[in-house]
Amino acid sequence: MANFNIDAAKERTFQAIVIGSGMSGSWAAKELCEHGVKTLVIERGRDVKHLRDYPTTNMLPYEFEHRGQLTNQIQEENPVVSRCYAFREDAMHFFVKDKEHPYVQEKPFDWIRGYQVGGKSLLWARQVQRWSDFDFEGPARDGFAVDWPIRYSEIAPWYSHVEKFAGVSGNKDGLPHLPDGEFLPGFELNIVEKYFQEQLKKHYGNSRHMILARCAHITGNLEFYQQQGRAKCQSRNLCQRGCPFGGYFSANASTLPWAERTGNMTLRTDAVVHSILYDEQKGKATGVRIVDANTKQTEEYFADVIFVNAAALNTNLILLNSTSNRFPNGLGNDNGLLGKYIAFHNYRAGISAEYEGYSEYTTSGGRPTSGYFPRFRNLYKQETDFLRGYAAGFSAGRYNYADQSGIGMALKEELLNPSQYGNWSVGSHMMGETIPKETNYVTLSKDEKDAWGIPLLKVNVEYDDNDEKMIKDYQEQMTEMFERAGFTNIRVRDDKRAPGLDIHEMGGVRMGKDPKTSLLNKNHQLHTCQNVYVTDGACMTSTSTQNPSLTYMAFAVRAAHHAMKNLK
């Protein structure tokens, strides 16, 4: 932009730029703005204002033309995103449609994206389990990836910081491998889930646990959350539409309005980041080049510090596309490892069964969470023929339904007065740790570009033998636990889903101690361009088994405070 006049350049200069307004970027923005840092938040999608832009939030089931179902046409046009459980008639508008934003699948990869203010924080499953040193020490102990440059004690205070502000409901469970946090009252496990808890204790002593999953929902301390304009979770379970109560944490309901209120945040929507600008004389990044999503005009913005929170794979894309004489292969990429060591969570396997006990009981009301198995495999020592292990969801439910076999008045009567109670149904799904490998990577297409002139991302990620063994073990172990608990009609599954559908893709810009084998240092700065911070999923050295968002948020806050020390 040669003809930039000085005033325009001033208007485009901030102290900090945050790329991405979602789960992690909104936290960086909140912390920076709260502490007086003039911050530009760049979002590639449209604005989504809390309440105003939740068009379906209070719609009743009969107000949806297809009662929630996807039409053939939408499924045919969007084979990838249609596989996502939350892509339904009520929340379709918050997902990227396949055709709008193509990418290259060198191997099958379902890339699920939310291009709007708030990103996927509107759509997430709101599970927030902490990591422990059993996770941070994993790569060093088991000899894969590289050692994490941080440990739990360094991140714990930031977990607390995030949990208090976001609102996390849960129980103190006293497990060393799933540390307790700052919890609001927990939801209730039902009678069969509690029974299963006892059965685990009986058959496995203290070695396997099923607890109430911690979730980012407000259940107490209501006056505190009123300051954010948020209220108690009403258990609507319609979270993916955007919550009119702000009952769960989203950037839109919480961190972004908070940042905005300081007067220090400027939000630039509809701005597709092309690259980060690098100044060779200064030896640092100076700004960000964007392409306006609508006009396709290029603009540049400048700042002393840049946070890259574009969501894991797009953060990789931006850095790979940020080339200069100094960094011909992408910003900070001296070792050629940028884009490599991508990993994810293995969600392929599940199990379902029935329980004939407690037949006189059912449940009522709603609950936005379920049960959770923290990892028990290879926890204290290596004990199987595969590395690491899996966490798992667990839930039980009982449903009143109508016998629909009849016709006429008898059917009508039965539909209006459903007589049937089946057995309790119980089920679980796995969340397996995958081992980051150099052969799982993303690169930029050399010849294909998107509508904004940015190279398409090529994804080359697949399962390996370790994952296959883990699926088998999950199925065997869960079957054994279900059998011992007296569950019947046990059925295991492997849905063979492609990587990506877990929506837990991580890595490519991993943290580490050594600039030769990692991209980021322990403060989330690029080793070789230290005013650029990466605190979203791209920074992950390993994946462990917890839903990762809480860790990204804590990382973003910690890194923002580090950056502010340097700014002052």
Binding site: T71, N72, E188, T362, Q404, L411, L415, N417
Partner: protein, 187 residues
Amino acid sequence: MHRREALKNLAILTGGAVLVPSCNFEQDDILAAYKNLKVTESQRALLSQVADTIIPPGEIKGASDLAVQDFILVMVNDCVEAERQALFTSGLQAFKGYSRKIAGTFATLEAVEKEKVIVQGLAISHDSTDETEKAIRAFLSLTKRFTIQGYMMSEYIMTQVKPYSLIPGEYNGAVLISSISNLKING
């Protein structure tokens, strides 16, 4: 719709003496709203009779009172795969003849007879290789499924009969079924 009503009323007034041959109806235009189906106004009327047989009117409204036939057509048109759509359409076309063959003209049958026709059609074996039988079965099973869904998820049922709440209340994980006092809703 008005024309159908008018003819029906005329038929009632004259004690059924005015029996309009069905082929007159089938010359009706194909309904443009359902691009993937070739359905005429008279077939839509027949569909509403089938839906009404599945969930009849009474003190509480029945399927066609809630225009469930339109919901069925929307769902088949938009959400059912092409192969089943084709079966639905040919099943709907063949249904009049099927009914005539096994019981009589569907529109003039007593409720019990209408039910029998549908039950028999739904019971057609999955092994049947007869194209018409396959289509009749597919048509009826899709119609039954969407009649139930369209009826139960209608504004009327969800507000006046079994009110639905966006806020389901606090979770209780151990409710004795015997403690739930369900008022019997009479169909």
